[in-house]
Structure formats: structure tokens, C-alpha cells
């Protein structure tokens, strides 16, 4: 029987999470304070959390429930996107609990279980709980084992348990499979939610909407018209105190493995039969399977480390001078690779993926660059300033779409054609409505809707693509230094120049 109050035509009613609670590991981390806690408040503020929602924090701190509630309160006041409303806070704070304990101490998990059961009784969460592991991946095995041993992962009847982990999903294929084995020992595949905070659901849905809701792009979305695709994620900041996490991981594992390859898959995939999770995944998987890496890896990839320099008029230190980074570190802070998608649609079209820290500005985009018109009926001087047509999905900042094409320069001086851009900006047309990625992600976890989270197959496939490149790089010693505030090392320019192309300035 379906809910008689939910008419499928009734698009005003949002989907509200059913009775449930969230158990947060790593409450003192940056991510928990800046993203997770504020997002939970924002969801409550939008009326999307159930009335008796429970939030249980777990950490090695001498806190009681009130201390933890105060931490959440401060984080919400500072970072929440929606206005602070006392009545919403009261509603949320009634369900906040804290368990003090060491992550390796079985007694702490017995206490956690007692608190969770208390929340079930006092708040009516009905035994539905999500474990959010906002902790280093190295600690997952011990936490998952203890959750299992203490009986916290056991469920009865219609109860559910889910686990949320953040990227990185391993550091190579073997470790990703090991991670999956650990999680799978306690949770079913559809109970494991892999979150990549770079990849908001809004972004994914926007790309799918532009590609599959329109008629004018699909006919040219193939190797007949597309010359190459450039996917860029650039940050203007350095590693910002995350040396412990970043050293030994590097740009390729941090960003290319999931974020850029997911963007590639969304850009290149065939139209799914529907937007049901497994249909979209199937198409993404087909693209990931079709990807090949160049045989000559050194010629078609590039890596670099940011050097000391000036960024936007401010002096900054180099990667090797950052606190906590050994001076002989070979970790790359810039990575660029070329791959091809070996299917009929994309044969011969190179996909260039690049990411780096301390680059010119903060930007993420997918640029589809078209071939030049086969014949231009103008004098060559008239079109001297005309470059290739391009369609760009701008992902951040200013989420939107840009189209670049040639247009006549106004005036009587003659027929001059130059590039113009036409912008559609979500910041214009949909301001305020784009909920921050974390809100959507957490809500999907609580609703049990995994459509856009990568599953273990996609993670495996991405590592299969990246592993040979990482292996080749491992023998290459220290990456090339590049000036902070620019667009990466010389070898990146050389790599694309070998193909007779150049990077777009994003």
C-alpha cells in the first residue's frame, strides 16, 4: 500500500527522511565541523529530517552531551547556509548525544550501543542508523570490526544500517579491494555509501540534464565533431595543513581517481534507459571499461610539485617547504593524463584530465572542444582571431554552461570574426536553490537512495585506469617544480603540444 497523502503529481511535498539517527565518527575533524554538522542543521531547517532525529558523536574527548551539543551549535552558527532559527536548533539539539571512548576500546562500543538503544527508545529512531566514518581510512577496519562485534550492525525486521565513507577509496586497486572487503564484511553493497564531496549531485544532474534533455547537443557529441575534451580541477590553495593526509597520496589519487574520471564518464556515457541508479551506473561503467591509457606514459602524462612563488600578489611557500612534508617527497601536487575512450562514439578523441594545487584560480570545468569548420568562406585575416568552438560545463565556481563561438565584430571596417561566449549561469537562474552538496549527500544516505554514489565496481575500474600510470611515475623520482599561481609545469604544456593541441585557460 502506498501513502495516500503522497500523490505522484504533488511536487510540492519534499521527500523527508524516515525515523533515523546518524552516528558520527571523527567529530573533531574539519569536515565534521565545516560540512557535516552544518548540513544536518540545514536539512532540519528545510524540514527534511524526521521529527525524532538522533545525532550521536563518538570521539576520545571528555565531553558530555551538552559539550558536544555546544560544538555542533558553534559549527552550525559559523558554517550553516540557512539562517539560524532557535526552534529548529531546539528540535535538533534534543536528539544530540555523545559517547566518549577510544576507537579501539570494545567497552566504548558497548557504551555506544547502549546510547543508540536509548536514542531508539527516547527519540523513536526505530533502529535505523547510519554510521558516518569521517576518520582516516586506515582506521576503518578496526571500527567496522568493533561495530560488528558489539552487535551495532545487527538489524531486525525493517530496520536499516548504513555506512558512509569519504574518498579516497583506497590508494590503488589492491587497497580499494581490501577496503571494500572490510566494509562488505558488515554491510551489504547497497548499505555502503561512498561520498566524494567534490562531486555534488547537483553537478551530476546538471550535466545529465544538459546532455539528455536537449536535442541540439547530442548530434554533435561524438568524434565527428569533437576534437578533444579537457577536464580540469584546479585549486588556488596549497595542501593547507593536510600534510599527513596528502604526502604519499598526491593529486592523481586525490582527484583524478574519482572526481575527474566520474566527470569523464558522465560526459562520455551513452544515454541511460532511465535515471534509475543501476541504469546510470551501467552506462558509466561501460565508459570506464572502454578507457585506455597511452602506452608511452611518460610522453602523455605530466606531474609536478608547486614551488615557492607569488600567488595573486601574495608570497607562498613551495610544497617541499610545507610543514610535515619531507624535503625529498615525490608526491605530485599536479597531475595531467591523456586517456582515450575506445568506442564508436569517441574513437580518436583524446580526453585530457588535469588537476593541481596552487594553480591560477579555483575552477572545475569540463570543456568539450569542437573541430574547426572544414571550410571557412572568409579571407584568412578575417578569421585570424577565431578559435575552436567549445561547450563548457562550469562546475565551480559559478556553476553553469558556457558556449564559445565566432561572431562578427560590429563596425564597417570589414568582415572580422572573433570568439564570443554565451553564458548560462546557475548563479543567475537558480541562486540559493542549489543545496550544498553535503545536504544532498546526507539526505540521500538517510533516504537510502544511492543513485549517484560510485559503487565498488566503478571504484575498481578507476583504479585499473590509474594504477599503471602510478606505477610508471613511481620510478620517475621527484616531479617537476612549477611556479605557484600559474597553470602547472612545463611538461604539462609539452605533453599536450605533442598532440598538436593546447590547454584551454580555464
Amino acid at each position: 500500500m502506498t501513502n495516500p497523502l503522497r500523490d505522484p503529481r504533488d511536487r510540492r511535498l519534499p521527500k523527508v527522511a524516515g525515523p533515523c539517527g546518524l552516528i558520527l565518527f571523527g567529530v573533531t575533524g574539519d569536515l565534521a565541523r565545516k560540512k557535516i554538522m552544518p548540513a544536518i542543521y540545514d536539512l532540519a531547517n528545510r524540514g527534511l529530517l524526521p521529527p525524532g532525529f538522533g545525532l550521536v558523536g563518538f570521539a576520545r574527548r571528555q565531553w558530555d552531551d551538552e559539550d558536544f551539543a555546544q560544538e555542533v551549535h558553534d559549527a552550525v552558527r559559523e558554517y550553516a547556509r540557512t539562517p539560524f532559527r532557535e526552534e529548529v536548533w531546539v528540535q535538533l539539539s534534543e536528539g544530540i548525544r555523545f559517547v566518549e571512548g577510544d576507537i579501539a576500546d570494545p567497552a566504548a562500543y558497548r557504551e555506544l550501543r547502549r546510547v543508540v538503544e536509548e536514542v531508539d527508545q527516547r527519540r523513536g529512531t526505530l533502529g535505523n542508523h547510519a554510521f558516518y566514518l569521517s576518520i582516516p581510512p586506515g582506521l576503518f577496519p578496526v571500527v567496522v570490526q568493533h561495530l560488528k562485534d558489539s552487535g551495532l550492525t545487527e538489524r531486525q525486521g525493517r530496520e536499516w544500517r548504513r555506512v558512509v565513507v569519504e574518498k579516497p577509496f583506497g590508494h590503488d586497486l589492491a587497497s580499494a579491494q581490501e577496503l571494500d572487503r572490510v566494509l562488505s564484511s558488515a554491510f551489504a553493497p547497497d548499505e555502503i555509501f561512498r561520498i566524494d564531496h567534490y562531486l555534488g549531485k547537483e553537478t551530476v544532474q546538471n550535466i545529465l540534464a544538459v546532455r539528455f534533455a536537449n536535442t541540439m547537443f547530442e548530434p554533435i557529441w561524438n568524434s565527428n565533431y569533437v576534437d578533444n575534451v579537457q577536464i580540469t580541477q584546479a585549486e588556488d590553495i596549497g595542501i593547507a595543513g593536510r600534510a599527513g593526509y596528502y604526502d604519499g597520496i598526491g593529486a592523481a589519487r586525490d582527484v583524478i581517481q574519482n572526481h575527474l574520471l566520474q566527470l569523464l564518464a558522465l560526459t562520455a556515457m551513452e544515454e541511460p534507459l532511465s535515471f534509475r541508479p543501476h541504469e546510470v551506473r551501467q552506462e558509466k561503467e561501460k565508459v570506464l571499461r572502454a578507457i585506455t591509457v597511452p602506452t608511452d606514459i611518460s610522453a602523455h602524462t605530466a606531474r609536478g610539485q608547486y614551488a615557492e612563488g607569488w600567488q595573486g600578489g601574495v608570497p607562498v611557500v613551495g610544497f617541499l617547504e610545507e610543514a610535515g612534508i619531507p624535503p625529498d617527497s615525490t608526491t605530485e601536487t599536479f597531475a595531467a593524463i591523456r586517456v582515450t575512450v575506445d568506442n564508436r562514439r569517441w574513437a580518436g578523441v583524446p580526453f585530457y584530465l588535469r588537476t593541481g594545487k596552487r594553480l591560477g584560480r579555483r575552477v572545475t570545468e569540463v570543456a568539450v572542444i569542437f573541430k574547426r569548420a572544414p571550410h571557412l568562406p572568409f579571407e584568412s585575416a578575417s578569421v585570424g582571431e577565431l578559435s575552436d568552438n567549445a561547450l563548457v560545463f562550469r562546475i565551480q565556481p559559478d556553476e553553469g554552461v558556457t558556449v564559445r563561438f565566432g561572431s562578427k565584430v560590429p563596425g564597417t571596417a570589414g568582415m572580422e570574426v572573433r570568439d564570443v561566449t554565451m553564458d548560462f549561469q546557475y548563479g543567475d537562474s537558480f541562486v540559493d536553490t542549489s543545496p550544498e552538496a553535503y545536504e544532498r549527500l546526507i539526505l540521500d544516505v538517510l533516504l537510502g537512495e544511492p543513485p549517484l554514489f560510485p559503487n565498488s565496481t566503478e571504484v575498481d575500474l578507476s583504479w585499473r585506469i590509474l594504477d599503471p600510470i602510478l606505477e610508471a611515475w613511481a620510478g620517475d623520482g621527484q616531479p617537476e617544480q612549477y611556479a605557484s599561481g600559474g597553470w602547472g609545469p612545463t611538461c604539462a604544456y609539452d605533453m599536450i603540444a605533442r598532440d598538436g593541441r593546447q590547454w584551454r585557460r580555464p
Binding site: T2, N3, R6, D7, G52, Q91, E94
Partner: protein, 304 residues
Amino acid sequence: MIRLEDTSGGEIARAIAEERHRMGSPATGMVLTMLILSDEEYASDATEAAVLSARQHPMRILTLIPRPGRGPDQIDAQVMVGGDDGPGEVAIVRLRGDRSGHANSVVIPLLLPDTPVVSWWPTDPPPVPADDPIGRHCQRRITDLATAADPRAALRERRAGYVPGDSDLAWTRLTSWRSALASLLDDETTQVRAVSVDAEADNPSAILLAAWLRWALRIPVELTPVIGPGITQVQLDTAQGMITLARPDGAVATLSRPGVPDSTIALPRRGLPDLLSEELRRLDPDGVYGDVLMSLGETPGQAS
């Protein structure tokens, strides 16, 4: 702001375009045209709400104020583009003397090409909004029962004049209540036998809420007049016991369920900008509103 005296629709359109050029952004990303038909009393609140809502839905806002009475037969306008309040374009147009009956001819040159048009009567809508010369341009026609002197009579009129595409802010005000109630029944074992709603007497939203519950659940719904503010309580009589959602103060509701300790839900009464933003999120007909409005006639005496 540009003031135009004794002007016309075409001149207002030129003024908007000039103002855009002066701001340095001749291209627009407007998603719709909003026509507000109002008297002086409601015009400024309605315009302000639309300007705030334009942050979510960038739009051209035309507020049309008929001033029949005496005075010169002329059209005066104030034009504002962009600014601190939002990205929208606003023209407040006063139609004086014999021009007051010709709002439609002013509007035609000002409609943005090939984008949806929405009309909003903050008060005193025509009997059949879809047949109104202005309403005919619009796929969405918004009225507001809360400003009616006699809400029950107004409700009968809305029902008699209903055409798909009509909607009413009294219905929009219910969304948070409806969402909270619907999520209570997501647990599919809950069987509701009867419902009672307590609300301010003649509150049009409460009448619509009771009608919605009666229409969706096909069970008796009792509507009891109390002091308010607005809707204060909804009680579901279920096989498992009584579920009560009580909001005595217009802000925080307490949920009482059998076997579960009480919890609170924020159910604040929302302002016009919020309501309008929700209204503009979808511009296709709201079939559920239509069905609920029509159902008011099926049980004799319910709407009267």
C-alpha cells in the same frame, strides 16, 4: 531608478533595455515574467516579495496598479533594474483615468519572449483568472484567499472559476503542514480512521487542509474553530492510537505518537517571498490543488 510620466508600454520596455546597458550587462538570464495586479495598498509588499524571490527565479516584474478615479488620463511608471535586492527587472506601472482599463495593452510589449508568464493578484482577483485579459497570457495564475474579506465566498468563487494553472497562496502556506503529515504516513502500517483539524475560524488554509485530508484519505475530517494563530492542531485517529501534531504558537509544533516520547518539528508560518519562491519552482498546473478545490463541492455544505 527611472521615472516615466505619461508613458507607454513600448517606452517602458526601452527604459528597461537602456538601464540594462547602463548596468553593463545587456544580456539577461530571466526565466519568467511576473505580472502583479494590485491596488496601492498591496502593491509594495507584493513587489518586494517578488524582488526577493527573483534571487531564486530571475524575472521581469511588472506591477500594474489601476487608478481609475479622477486625474489625467495617463500612464506613469518607475523602472528599476538589478541592484542590491536581486537580479530582477521591476516596473511599477500606474494606469490613471481611462487608461486603468487597458493594462493588457501595456503588458504585451513587455512580456519576455518565449518564457513563462505568471500573474499574481494579491487581493481581489477576477472571477475567472484564466479568462481575464491579463490572465490569458499566463500559465500560472496566483491568487490569495487570505486577503479575502469573506474567505468562504472567495473559496466558492475560486472553485467556480477554476482552470488548471490556477493556484492560491493559501494552498502554498500548507506545504510544511502537508509534508509533516505525509511523512507520518510513510510508515505504511498506519491506518487513519478519522482526522480533526483545529484552526482559526474561516482560515482558508485550514479549510483546504481539511479538504485535502478528506480527499486523500477518504475519511471524515472535522474542522473545529479555535483562536489560532492559523492552524493550531491536527489529530489523526489511527488503529495504533492518537497521533497529534500541535502548533499553538505558529512556529514550533509538538508531535505526540503512541509509544514514542514527544518530539518537536519546526513549522513556521512563512513570509510572502518564501511562498512565492515555492510557487514559481514549478509552473505546470497543480493538479492536486485543483482536485482538492473541486472536492469542496462534493460534500454539500463543506465549503459554505
